[in-house]
């Protein structure tokens, strides 16, 4: 028997977890055969250090993206056009922040603390999704984000929910359930705008035009550019390549976009290849993508400023929790037991 919780684990530097360490090859073979059978890896299990590091990086970026994704939409809460839209938007923003909390916890089980991850986000060291480096300029942007970007996220997250790391997969199942509401509400907003006055329709078209580039880049660099993909797929950290996810998104949503009487900018030369059954498009500029996610997008500085302000403004809550700790009867009994 061991005195460990299901979420403890996460002690980096487990013996023999790096290539060249004694026993590494045997452990790796056992690990890979488990993973290929569809077994979930749990926090206390042996795992290659590279697996641990890749997952920490991935979950950390994902958590940051949830937090930063709440910012452009959160800013629109005071200006929502009706009470119903306002309530739904508040609920969505609350969900996204909750997703970040679940994900930071999942990453912590691999040995990196939440404080460290939040610090790296605020200082600009850690990345977050390219799409949240842009401004949400109009209400139609809010609708576009909630429909098409959440749709892109769902393609990614339902795939990742089948991944090999238990705590991440479980968090994603919960997250996907909530995303379904974001997507449907976003679609509902887009239908309203697309079928409303000409002004509303034009506003939505303008939003789609401006967001199309970030959306096309959302699933990350094309398979020709993207490194590590083979290893990540073998370890079931990732189940589909970036291009496969992008194709899935386009197949599902291009028809819906056209159905609303909308178009995407001509410069992308989007067309469906009937023979191959795939969407053809002009390859995004991946250097520009990297430049943006490194913190050089139009809204990058604003995002980090807002996040930093929120963190500092929330300090009193953390202090209050700390000073109230153990003052209740329940708290004392546990403190005594511990």
């Amino acid at each position: 028997m061991v005195r460990v919780s299901p979420t403890r684990g996460g002690q980096p530097g487990l013996r023999g977890d790096k290539p060249g360490d004694p026993g590494y090859e045997e452990n790796l073979a056992a690990f890979e055969s488990r993973v290929s059978r569809g077994d979930k890896v749990e926090p206390g299990d042996w795992m290659p250090d590279a697996y641990r590091q890749q997952l920490i990086r991935l979950i950390h970026v994902h958590a940051n993206s949830e937090i930063c994704g709440a910012l452009p939409e959160g800013g629109w809460i005071p200006n929502a056009p009706s009470l119903k839209r306002k309530l739904a938007l508040i609920a969505k923003v609350q969900d996204e922040v909750g997703h970040a909390q679940l994900l930071y916890r999942a990453a912590e089980t691999l040995g990196k603390s939440r404080e460290e991850m939040i610090e790296e986000l605020i200082s600009g060291k850690a990345k977050y999704s390219n799409v949240f480096h842009y401004h949400a300029e109009t209400w139609a942007d809010v609708a576009t984000i909630s429909w098409l970007i959440d749709a892109g996220a769902i393609v990614n997250q339902t795939m990742m929910a089948e991944g090999s790391y238990g705590p991440y997969a479980r968090a994603l199942k919960r997250i996907c359930y909530e995303e379904a509401f974001h997507l449907t509400h976003g679609y509902d907003m887009c239908i309203t705008l697309a079928t409303g006055t000409k002004l509303q329709h034009d506003m939505l078209q303008d939003a789609v035009n401006r967001w199309w580039k970030p959306i096309m880049m959302f699933h990350g660099p094309g398979d020709k550019v993207s490194r590590h993909t083979d290893l990540l797929m073998r370890w079931r950290v990732k189940m589909k390549t970036n291009d496969e996810q992008r194709q899935q998104f386009l197949k599902q949503y291009m028809p819906k976009i056209y159905q609303l009487g909308l178009t995407v900018p001509d410069e992308w030369e989007m067309r469906f290849d009937e023979v191959e059954g795939v969407w053809r498009y002009r390859e995004p500029d991946w250097d520009e993508f990297l430049h943006v996610v490194r913190g050089n997008g139009p809204a990058s500085a604003l995002r980090l400023r807002t996040r930093k302000m929120a963190h500092e403004d929330g300090a009193w809550v953390r202090r209050a929790l700390q000073s109230a700790a153990g003052q209740s009867a329940v708290g004392e009994s546990v403190a005594g037991a511990g």
């Binding site: 460990v4 909750g98 603390s113 705590p167 919960r174 953390r318 929790l321 700790a325 003052q327």
Partner: protein, 105 residues
Amino acid sequence: MSDTQWQIFEVFHQQVRGEPHVYVGSVHAPDPEAALILAKEQYGRRQASVSLWVVPEDAITATSYEDVDMFDHGTDKSYRESFGYETTKRIKSIVADRTESRGEA
């Protein structure tokens, strides 16, 4: 910025009265009361819930996945399963025998 690296509490969630509490995840909190508040936000905000438990993570003693022997049934244990018995087949043959002997009489 290590001001919230509090103790971990494991969270168990019950959806309907009478059903088991199910392990759903964990939160950091300075005490059990705060853990319940945070657990409610994280795990009881969206779906049906009637009860939550929070347990300090170091209170849990667990088996290890490595101890496969512990759950391995070394011998045939079908005698304690319903599939280990052939009652239907046996009763059918008894009934068949009876019909046969009545036919002969």
